[in-house]
Amino acid sequence: MSTRFYFCEVTQQQSETTLESTKTQVSLKFIRYTAMALIVALFMFPVYWVLTTSLKTPLEAFAKPPALIFRPTFENYQELFSGTDFARLTLNSIIAAVGNTVISIILGTTAAWGMSRYRIGGNWLFIGVLSIRFLPVTSIVIPLFLLFVQFRLIDTFATLPLAYLVFSLPFVIWMMRAYIDGIPYEIEESAMVDGASRLAVIWRIVIPLAAPGLVPTIIFCFIFAWNELVFATVLTRVTARTAVVGLTAFASTSEDAIRWGLISAAAMVVMSPPMILAFLLRRHLAGGLTIGAIKH
C-alpha cells in the first residue's frame, strides 16, 4: 500500500513540473494529427468525388457549379447493369482473375515448396523466375498475341488466366518461397517418416502452416489480374472482354459528357474490389506493392 502511495506522489510532482512541456507536446500532437487528417482528406477527395458523381442524376453530374449537395440515386448503377453489358464484363473480370489466381497459387506454391525445401535450381532458377516479373507488358504482348493467334486462344475464357501467368507465377513463387523458408521443416519430415506422400505433405501440412502468407498472396494475385489492361485489350475481343477494358472504352467516348454518372459508376465497380481487399492486406501492403510495382 505504502509503496503505491509513494509512486502516486512522485508522478503527481513530476506532472506539475513538466506541465508546460506536456502542454506544448499535446498541441504539437494536435497540429500533427490535423495535418495528417487534411492530407488524407486531400488524397481521398478524388475517390470521394467519383463516388458522389456515380450517385448523381445526369443533370446533377453535369451541373455548373458542381452539385455538392444532392439526393443520392442508384440510377446509374441500374442503367450500368441493365442497360449496358457491363455486368457481363464484370463477370468476365472475375472469371479471369479467379482462374488465374487458382492456377498460379496451386502451381506456384508447389514450386515454391520444392525450391525452398530442396533448393531445386538454386538461386539461379529463383532469380530467373523473378526477373520475368520485370518484363514490360507492352513488349511481351506482341509475341504473345501472335502465339495465342496460332493456338486459337484469342478471346476464350482460358486466354487471360493463361496469359497472366507471366506475372502471377513469379509473384507467387517469390512470396511463398520466402514464407515457406520461415516454417520449420521438422513437421513435414516426421510426416514423411510416417509414410505421407510429398503431395499429402504439401496439401495437409505446408498449406495450412503457410496460410498467413498465402492469404495476402491470393489477394494480390486477384487484384493484379483484376486491374490488368494491356493483355485484356489485345488478347480478348468480345466473349472474354473484361471490365477494365470496358471502362477504357467508356473513356474514349467521354465527349458524351451526359454519361459521366454512368462512367463514374463503372469506375466505382472497377475500383471497389481492390480498395475493399486492401483492408484485408494491411501490414502486407508495402511488401506486396513493392513486388507489384515492378511488374508492368
Partner: protein, 299 residues
Amino acid sequence: MAVVVRFAARKPYWTVVIPIALLAVVAVYPIIELVRLSLHNAPSATGGVEVFVGLKQFGWILESSEFRNSLKVTFIFIFGASVVEIFIGLALALLFNVESTLARVFRLLLVLPAMLAPVAVGLIWVLILNSDFGILNYLLGLVGIEGQAWLASPALAMRSLILIDAWQWAPFVALFLLAGLRSLPTEPFEAAKVDGASPIQIFRYLTLPMLQPVLAVVFLIRVLDGTKLFGLVLVLTSGGPGSSTNVLGLEIFKKAFEGNQMNFAAGMAVIQLLLVLLFAGVYTILFLRSHAAAIGDDT
C-alpha cells in the same frame, strides 16, 4: 540420419516442371520471338516471305522522329514523376511516422490509390480536370484563378500526368521510406539530441544520409515502373495533345496494334526491354547493397 537422407534423397523436380514449362511458353519463348521479329520485316501485302533485315531495323527506329519523341517524353515523365514522388513521399513519411491506431488507419487510406487500376485513376482525373465542368477549375474559380485546360494543353499535359502519377504513388513511396526510417539505428539520433542538434540539423546530417540507400532503391522502383507507363496515359491523353505525352509503351502499342507495323514495334519493344533490364540491374545492385529487405513493415 535416415530421416535427413530420406528428406533430401530425391529432389521432387516435378514440383517445378509445370510452372517452368508454362513460363517457358508464355515468357521465355515470347522474348526470343520478339527479338526474331525485330530483326525481320513482314512479307509484303501481296504475299511472300519474311525478309531478314537484321540491325537495320534499329537504324530505322532510331531515325524515326516518333520514336525519338516517345523516348524523350518517357524520360521526362520517368524523372519528373520519380523526383516529385520522392519529395512528397519523404515529407509524408516524416509526417506520418507516429505510432497509433489512428495513424495506422490514415496510412492505410493514404496508400489506397496504389491499389487502383491505372485506367480507373485516369478516369477519376479526367472527371476532375475537365476544363468545362471539372471540380478543380470550379474551385480555382472561387479563389479567382482562371481555369486551365489541364490535359488538353501541350504545356500542361505532362505536368498534370506527373502529378496524377504522384497522387497514385507518392503514398507508396512514403510507406516504403517509413519502413526505412524505422529500421535506422536509434543511438546516433539520441546522441545528436543530447548534443543539442536541432531537428533540421538531425534531418540534414543524420536522417537523410542514413536513408540514402533506401531512397535510391525506391527511386529505382519508380523509374522502373515509369518506363512501363501505359494505361494511365492512354485514358488521360492517349499520347496527346500532339504527341506531348506519347510515351514509349503507348507508341509501341499504337504501332503494333493500330498501325499494323509489328516488326517495327517489336524493335521498339526490344529497346524498352533493354531499358528495363538496365534499370532492373541497377535496382538489384542497389537493393542488395541497402538491405532494404525490411519492407513489409506494419502499415
